[in-house]
């Protein structure tokens, strides 16, 4: 006999910490784009295979009995030692693999551990728009208050050729966001969705404010290896006075094109990492062992090749630069204005010039949400609305932009090109 459930028990309601955090742009758009007849340039994952040695590394690891059982909670020794080698070289400092590194479930897990460890009620956290959408809900879940500041398009940029470098912070505006309650600022470089790589001087300006206000810096650098010609990825943690106050986040998923492995890491000083470790040991304890072993082996292999063209970190960026340029050309041809990214694997494009009338779709959503839905339905091409990455106050500034992912194989790009070429033909 099935006991019928008549009234929702008040005790079965959600806790305060997750109030209002149930909505999520991905849940809405990924199911729509799951239709195989739609060319999916929406969610950010490759449809190209990972490097074979990484896959092989996993196959080998799975054959070892011990590697199918629990490993060290804060990170599998092979992996943390490899990370300390690779990043020791990049940071040009000795990194303690056991005290200054934490392995997490993707870059996402590092962000969560950081927020839960270091942010609480009463804290303000500065977030730069457009931002990877989870920053705001994570700050809120930790009880903190997000303080938003948008990147703004320099008025001097030529209308025809816009780069992500043309999007900058207003320095006075940035300084005004800092106060005694500011616990941290989150930066993402290379940035998702714009692809901006913060220059050394831009990072120095942020660093100066962090030091002046004794603020932490959370630097999301998951796309750190995807840097295109003429640009340099700078780690804010290497600027004077910044190591002690910065958590830098990396991702195996983005590094090795294995987003489905969900492994990432936080690197920072012991006095900060130890708090992230406390969160880790009270939330999921340890990450999967064979995956960590394989990533560790992959990193060691590429460590030996660092700086050489066949290092995957370099070769992937080179491969993607071609795709980036191809995508930008396709979009221009249609009449959209792409913002050519300096790094990462996303490109945003301004659709204003298309003058697409979407008034039939009502006006309870920003223009880009309507455009994306219309484009999925009418053109069978999926993308993501950029206002998903901004706060309410900045919607007007960004609602003519859509985000496209270009880490796709040539056949996918061919299919996208076909759609874009025939855009005006109906």
């Amino acid at each position: 006999m099935r006991t019928s459930y008549k009234m929702a028990s008040i005790k079965h309601k959600n806790t305060k910490r997750i109030e209002g955090l149930d909505k999520n742009v991905w849940v809405a758009f990924t199911s729509v784009a799951a239709d195989p007849s739609i060319v999916n340039l929406g969610q950010g994952y490759p449809d190209i295979p990972p490097p074979s040695y990484v896959k092989e590394g996993l196959a080998q690891a799975a054959m070892v009995d011990r590697l199918n059982q629990y490993t060290r909670g804060f990170g599998h020794p092979t992996l943390v030692k490899a990370l300390s080698k690779v990043y020791g070289k990049v940071y040009d400092r000795q990194l303690d693999p056991f005290k200054e590194i934490l392995v997490t479930v993707g870059g996402y897990g590092s962000l969560f551990s950081t927020m839960q460890a270091l942010v609480e009620e009463g804290d303000e956290v500065i977030i730069i728009e457009p931002f990877f959408d989870c920053y705001v809900p994570m700050v809120k879940m930790a009880g903190g208050k997000p303080v938003l500041i948008p990147l703004r398009l320099k008025s001097s940029s030529a209308a025809s050729s816009v780069s992500s470098a043309d999007w900058v912070l207003d320095q006075e505006e940035l300084a005004s966001k800092f106060n005694s309650k500011t616990k941290a600022i989150i930066i993402n470089t290379p940035n998702n969705p714009i692809g901006k790589i913060f220059s050394r001087s831009e990072l120095q300006a942020i660093a100066d404010l962090c030091i002046k206000h004794d603020t932490l810096c959370i630097s999301d650098e998951v796309y750190e290896w995807l840097v295109y010609k003429g640009h340099e990825h700078v780690k804010i943690a290497t600027l004077p006075g910044m190591w002690d106050r910065t958590i830098t986040i990396g991702s195996a998923g983005k590094t090795f094109s294995v987003t489905g492995w969900k492994l990432g890491w936080s690197i920072g000083p012991e006095h900060l990492i130890k708090h992230l470790q406390t969160v880790m040991q009270n939330s999921l304890y340890t990450c999967p062992t064979p995956l960590q072993e394989a990533v560790g082996q992959g990193l060691l292999r590429d460590f030996e090749l660092m700086g050489k063209p066949d290092c995957y970190f370099t070769s992937l960026a080179l491969e993607l630069e071609g795709k980036r340029d191809r995508m930008a050309a396709m979009l221009r041809q249609t009449g959209m204005t792409p913002v050519v990214p300096e790094g990462g694997y996303f490109m945003i494009a301004d659709v204003t010039a298309l003058n697409q009338d979407l008034s039939h779709m009502g006006d309870d959503e920003p223009y880009d949400y309507k455009f994306v839905k219309w484009m999925i339905k009418e053109k069978k091409l999926a993308s993501i609305p950029v206002t998903a990455f901004v706060g309410e106050d900045s919607v007007k500034q960004f609602e003519k932009y859509i985000r496209l992912c270009f880490i796709k194989q040539e056949s996918t790009l061919d299919a996208a090109e076909a759609i874009l070429k025939s855009w005006n033909k109906d």
Binding site: K11, R17, M141, G143, H275
Partner: protein, 419 residues
């Protein structure tokens, strides 16, 4: 830069959030390190020293060679193949139609399922009843969620025979009832229990269920060892009792089910209106779980679904294999003067060490509970790692349970050679 003697580098403000205060110590970190340092035979932490069954290792190999999609993000709340087979499998056992998309959340091990549950349902001021001895993470997780733990002890019943079994540890009905208050949000039960090995009987679960219904309390049922019961003991799912499905979150583990603890695949199962809150926590904390491992677990679960109840089932073979190991370990322990408590289920056996009169003259441990000191002595002097059972009790009650240590018997080695 000059080496800084300041604890926080050059930062002066308070850094860490209050929610992590008091939960930074962890026995596993401490004891695994010690066991590794002394290269001790590890009968401490609960993981097998043998491989997962061949069919699931094969499934993993197939998954990782199964095309690019197996290495990219899958559905956030659980890989479709996995949630579908879990729903099918458990629908048959629980006796109701479980919706794979609404009623199941796949997590990074059962540990993360527990985390999502507490974060989703426990607010400041909420009381959570925890039965001692408990898997050590429950209390810190309740604390991190701002809740208060209300402890209830399993006690050795009167008139036990000389050979102790985990069945001899019971809850007092009056004491259990007294723990429920208007502030009680949830009760956590673990069956088969870690560390005792107790498997709650139907009547005991009914007693708990009646109180949950009476006081409108959520039941969090950690059943990671559900396939490991011995001597014909039956595992009963409290969610299958009348009135309980709508208020129970049941937690399971592929790691324990398939002897692959390092894969960290687990799940929470329950009514959609509760699971949706766990999903909100999940999507704001880790978002996705690794794809290939989920695919492999799905294939392995389908295989077990097809051979369920037959001799070929891993769920028959593993408990059979461990049944013997359990008896063998109990004999070895007795032969050296320890008094084992024979578990009805699970991975572990506890043993009373009070008969041994060992001189634990180690000044570095003199302020610690007796069982902690004994375990450290055993690691350092005998090269054998175990876990002190008072670690599974709250700080308030540690003093009362200092004479037991916990052994994991899911090991291929010859136990007696260790003594």
């Amino acid at each position: 830069m000059i080496f800084s003697l300041i604890m926080q580098g050059n930062m002066s403000r308070k850094l860490h959030a209050r929610r992590i205060e008091g939960i930074d110590k962890n026995i596993w970190v401490e004891f695994s390190q010690l066991a590794a340092d002394y290269k001790a035979v590890n009968l401490g932490q609960g993981f097998p020293d043998f491989s997962p069954p061949h069919f699931i290792q094969e499934a993993f190999c197939k998954a990782l060679n199964g095309g690019f999609s197996k290495h990219q993000y899958t559905r956030a709340f659980g890989h479709p193949n996995l949630v579908k087979i879990l729903a099918k499998f458990f629908s048959r056992i629980v006796g109701r139609e479980i919706d794979p998309m609404e009623d199941i959340l796949v997590s990074v091990g059962a540990y993360q399922a527990l985390f999502c549950t507490f974060q989703a349902l426990i607010d400041e001021g909420d009381e959570v009843i925890i039965v001692e001895p408990f898997f050590d993470c429950y209390q810190p997780m309740v604390m991190m969620a701002g809740g208060t733990t209300c402890l209830l002890d399993l006690r050795l019943k009167e008139g036990c025979g000389p050979v102790l079994s985990s069945a001899d540890w019971v809850l007092s009905p009056e004491e259990l009832a007294s723990k429920f208050s208007p502030r009680t949000k949830a009760i956590v039960i673990n069956t088969p229990n870690n560390p005792l090995g107790k498997v709650y009987q139907q009547e005991e679960l009914h007693m708990i269920a009646d109180l949950c219904i009476k006081h409108d309390v959520i039941c969090i049922s950690d059943e990671v060892y559900e396939w490991l019961t011995y001597d014909g003991t039956k595992h009963v799912k409290i969610a299958s009792l009348p009135g309980m499905w709508e208020r129970t979150v049941t937690i399971g583990s592929a790691g324990k089910t398939f002897s692959a603890t390092g894969w960290k695949v687990g799940w929470a199962m329950g009514p959609g209106h509760i699971l949706k809150h766990l999903k909100t926590v999940h999507q704001n904390s880790v978002y996705h779980c690794a794809t290939a491992a989920q695919e492999a677990v799905a294939v392995g679960s389908q295989r077990e679904y097809d051979v369920f109840g037959t001799e070929g089932s891993y769920f028959q073979q593993l408990p059979k294999h461990l049944h013997e190991k359990r008896l063998r370990l109990a004999d070895c322990l007795k032969s050296v003067g320890l008094k084992p408590v024979l578990p009805q289920g699970g991975y572990f056996m506890i043993a009373d060490i009070s008969n041994l009169n060992v001189d634990l003259a180690d000044p570095s441990t003199k302020d610690e509970p007796y069982d902690y000191r004994f375990v450290k002595w055993l690691i350092k002097e005998k090269g054998l790692a175990t876990i002190p059972v008072s670690a599974f009790f709250s700080p308030e009650h540690k003093d009362e349970f200092q004479k037991y240590i916990r052994f994991c018997f899911v090991k291929n080695g010859m136990f007696c050679s260790y003594f």
